[in-house]
């Protein structure tokens, strides 16, 4: 009987430690890989982190896409209609990337404070508008409306 209890205790301990390890693993990984979303004006105001990746969203400014001759480097400007920020990228842009459309870029700031994108995402959505960008623009619209009332 005693041996059986000991066995059960062992089993329960094994389970609990297993779950604890899994939980710790999950939470650290979660912490490390959480990506925050920032608007161009927030990034320019210095609110974005310096040493970790984040996401930035906005509308691609018309005629701002400039390509490097000979390779795949490309530069474009994102706007939230408050501030504009240049984005640098080396790679193939997604099918739905176009000027005057909402996109999201994932990347980090380099030592000169320039945003280097590792990935550029354009939503496969009939409205061509990532939800984060849509909401951000709505907020800005409301702000300008309120300001014009004042």
């Amino acid at each position: 009987m005693k041996a059986k209890r000991k066995q059960r205790l062992m089993f329960v301990l094994f389970l609990i430690s297993g779950i604890a390890i899994a939980a710790v693993l999950a939470l650290t990984a979660f912490q490390d890989n959480m990506l925050y979303f920032y608007k161009p004006s927030e990034v320019l105001a210095g609110e974005a982190p310096r040493n970790r990746a984040f996401r930035i969203g906005g509308i691609v400014v018309k005629d701002s896409v400039k390509r490097q001759q000979g390779d795949l480097r490309v530069q474009f400007t994102l706007t939230d209609y408050v501030k504009n920020i240049p984005v640098f990228y080396d790679g193939i842009l997604p099918d739905l990337f176009r000027e005057e459309q909402g996109i999201i870029a994932l990347g980090r700031l380099n030592s000169e404070g320039l945003f280097i994108a590792e990935e550029v995402l354009a939503k496969h959505d009939e409205n061509y508008m990532p939800p984060e960008v849509a909401e951000m623009l709505n907020q800005n619209k409301k702000l300008t409306r309120e300001q014009s009332k004042l």
């Binding site: 066995q7 059960r8 062992m10 089993f11 389970l15 297993g18 779950i19 899994a22 693993l25 999950a26 990984a29 979660f30 490390d32 890989n33 959480m34 990506l35 925050y36 979303f37 996401r55 390509r67 001759q69 000979g70 390779d71 795949l72 790679g91 193939i92 842009l93 099918d95 739905l96 990337f97 994932l106 939503k123 496969h124 959505d125 009939e126 939800p131 984060e132 849509a134 909401e135």
Partner: protein
């Protein structure tokens, strides 16, 4: 007029669903035989009218009736017939109708194949399925009517999303739904068992084949989705940990735990309460998955704000189903006694550990998928969780699961000696490691600790599974006869387990040794990747039924010898003006060559140039071969003689005695 008939049929089917839910459940409670008997005919009526509604919606698509809003938003006269039909389930409203239709089909199947079930049990199962159906039909009629008319009729529709105009994706949702909805059967059995307070081995045996079929379809559906993403999205990836994918993967993980737990409940009478809980979780996650993907919540939590009725309804329905069943479980579950005893080292214990790991894995995926939504809904900021999170958390949980999968079939039920188990298996592990090293060396000429570990585990699963087959034959005289006369459930299990091994090998190779290159090419340019030379010969223009296209011609040579010519495309769809990449793939058993045409980059020195992405993907086909093996494994297991015999025995038992007992 015709769409109104569809709408009316939908309302009638709701009426049938209400009858199918209430009368049998109340009848079972009051032991009223006539009330209980109403269940099956009501389910036939419901099926008839949903089929009519579904047929009418399909007809509206085929005839391009753009006075129906749903048709106008998702179809177009230029759309080929096949995609006009698949467009029926291409968006929110139609996919709900499709879901309800499959559910009523499954209900009819349960009603027809469960005649031998005790009357009360059968009535309860059909009643619970009727309840789920009411939830879906009401949701459709109140918030998402597929037959809604458009009062200013448009000349032409908006066209189906170009991404969905593909054979793979036409089939993907039906398969997933077969899986999701299939789990409603085991859920209903579990609820019926809880209602009756009868958690014996019998309910596990009844619901097992249904669950296995559902699992097989879900497996195939997820596999097909991943295959589609691979060839259609143009990025060469096969799994993105995208919330949409995750929401089909969570029920799969818990469902996998469920089919194994059901096996223990049936064979050993143990884990019954745990199995019921898993059945509830699996179906709840299936519901969550359906609603997450199709209601637009994932595109934005704020679509709740756009149509608050939908969001409120979904939350309410989920709360009733999940809360209600868990409440019932809390109330009735603990009273049911656990069965078969087992020791610490036994197949039961290891299965339990594996189960817990699987549920854990599902939970970590749930955390990564739901947390950003919850944060956003509460206004705590917008975050997203990238693939690195899932990889760091998921891989360490999967490694022990795969290791256990190899050990499990070689451990005895009830109790075993760890030393003896080790003696049985140590040489298989050594052999697997050796073969893994050899395979890595021959196939890619390099290895890392993780890739060696991964491939070893994949081979280990295959070898231990084969050893299981050998053990069955070892003491038989006529080996060939014994091999061809193995029980189907064993053959199915073997195939599915070996399939997982094959899949693991594919995943490790494809994720560790794929090479890719993005580059800019003008006509005549050549590039080298993984020993292959790719040369862009030219570009030409083409035209499809509802798109125009640019086609590149790329020659692939190895050591100067022409291997193949590939034709990657960039399409532009007339109606939506959406560009779409159609990758060109040279598929092989040991590697794929993959070219995706990027955008046109304008002219350099008078020569036009394009961006291109070239991939070399070793063993990627093994992934889907593994999925197919798992799917067929599931199907074969269901055709086991035992289930057919079981039905006959039960009928005989019932005809000879009125006593209703679970069949031993």
């Amino acid at each position: 007029m015709i769409p109104e008939i569809g709408h009316f049929a939908l309302i009638l089917s709701l009426g049938f669903a209400i009858v199918q839910c209430i009368l049998p459940l109340v009848g079972a409670h009051k032991n009223q035989a006539q009330w209980m008997a109403v269940g099956s005919p009501a389910s036939y009526g419901q099926f008839l009218f949903i089929t009519l509604a579904f047929g009418i919606l399909t007809y509206s698509f085929i005839t391009s009736d753009f006075s129906v809003l749903y048709v106008a938003s998702n179809s177009n006269t230029e759309l080929p017939l096949m995609y006009r039909i698949s467009a029926v389930w291409g968006a929110h409203e139609g996919s709900l109708l499709f879901w309800a239709w499959i559910l009523s089909g499954w209900t009819v199947a349960v009603a027809m194949f469960s005649r031998s079930l005790p009357r009360v049990m059968r009535a309860r199962v059909i009643g619970v399925m009727g309840f789920i159906s009411i939830g879906f039909l009401l949701f459709m009629l109140l918030t998402s009517n597929p037959f809604e008319r458009l009062f200013q009729v448009v000349a032409n529709g908006r066209d189906l999303n170009p991404l969905l105009q593909d054979f793979g994706l036409a089939l993907h949702p039906p398969l997933l739904y077969m899986g999701y909805v299939g789990f409603s059967v085991v859920f209903s059995f579990a609820i019926a068992a809880l209602l009756g307070g009868q958690l014996d081995a019998a309910w596990a045996r009844w619901s097992r084949p249904w669950t296995t079929i559902a699992w097989a379809f879900l497996t195939l559906g997820i596999g097909l989705g991943s295959w589609w993403a691979y060839y259609e999205l143009g990025w060469g990836g096969w799994w993105f940990w995208d919330p949409v994918e995750n929401s089909s993967f969570m029920p799969w993980l818990v469902g996998t735990a469920l089919i194994h737990s059901l096996a223990v409940s049936e064979k050993r009478g143990a884990f019954k309460a745990w199995t019921v809980l898993l059945a509830i979780f699996t179906f709840s996650l299936s519901l969550l998955g359906t609603f997450l993907v199709r209601s637009g919540i994932l595109v934005s939590v704020h679509s709740f704000a756009a149509d608050p009725a939908r969001g409120t309804y979904i939350l309410g329905f989920l709360a009733i189903v999940i809360g209600g069943s868990l409440g019932l479980y809390a109330w009735r579950g603990p009273t049911t006694r656990g069965g078969g005893e087992f020791k610490l080292v036994s197949r039961e214990t290891l299965l339990l550990v594996m189960n817990i790991l699987l549920v854990n894995a599902a939970f970590t995926v749930l955390l990564g998928t739901m947390f950003p939504l919850i944060m956003d809904a509460l206004g705590l900021g917008k975050i997203s969780v990238g693939p690195p999170y899932f990889e760091t958390v998921f891989v360490p949980l999967m490694l022990p699961i795969v290791l256990l999968l190899g050990v499990l079939p070689h451990v005895r039920w009830k109790s075993d000696d760890p030393k003896v188990v080790a003696q049985r298996l140590w040489w298989v592990l050594v052999l697997s490691t050796f073969f893994a090293a050899a395979l890595l060396w021959i196939a890619v000429g390099q290895a890392s600790v993780m890739s060696l570990l991964g491939v070893t585990l994949g081979i280990w699963v295959v070898f231990t599974t084969l050893k299981g087959v050998w053990l069955r034959l070892a003491d038989r005289q006529h080996k060939w006869f014994a091999l061809t006369h193995l029980p189907r459930s064993f053959v199915g299990m073997t195939l599915a387990h070996a399939g997982l091994g094959v899949l693991v090998i594919g995943v490790v190779f494809a994720s560790s040794f794929s090479v890719e290159k993005d580059l800019r090419m003008v006509i005549g340019d050549e590039t080298r990747l993984a020993g292959y030379d790719f040369r862009l010969l030219g570009m030409s223009a083409g035209k499809g039924p509802n798109y125009t296209t640019e086609i590149g011609t790329v020659e692939v040579r190895q050591d100067g010898k022409l291997m193949t010519t590939l034709y990657p495309e960039k399409r532009s769809y007339n109606r939506s003006e959406n560009p779409m990449t159609e990758a060109a793939i040279e598929a092989g058993l040991f590697h794929d060559l993959y070219i995706a045409l990027g955008e046109s980059l304008g002219e350099v020195d008078g020569k036009k140039s394009w961006s291109m992405r070239v991939h070399y993907k070793p063993f990627i086909r093994w992934l889907w071969i593994g999925v197919l093996m798992m799917f067929f494994g599931g199907l074969i297991a269901v055709t086991d003689r035992r289930y057919r015999l079981m039905a006959r025995h039960r009928q005989e038992a019932q005809s000879t005695s009125a006593a209703q007992e679970g069949v031993a």
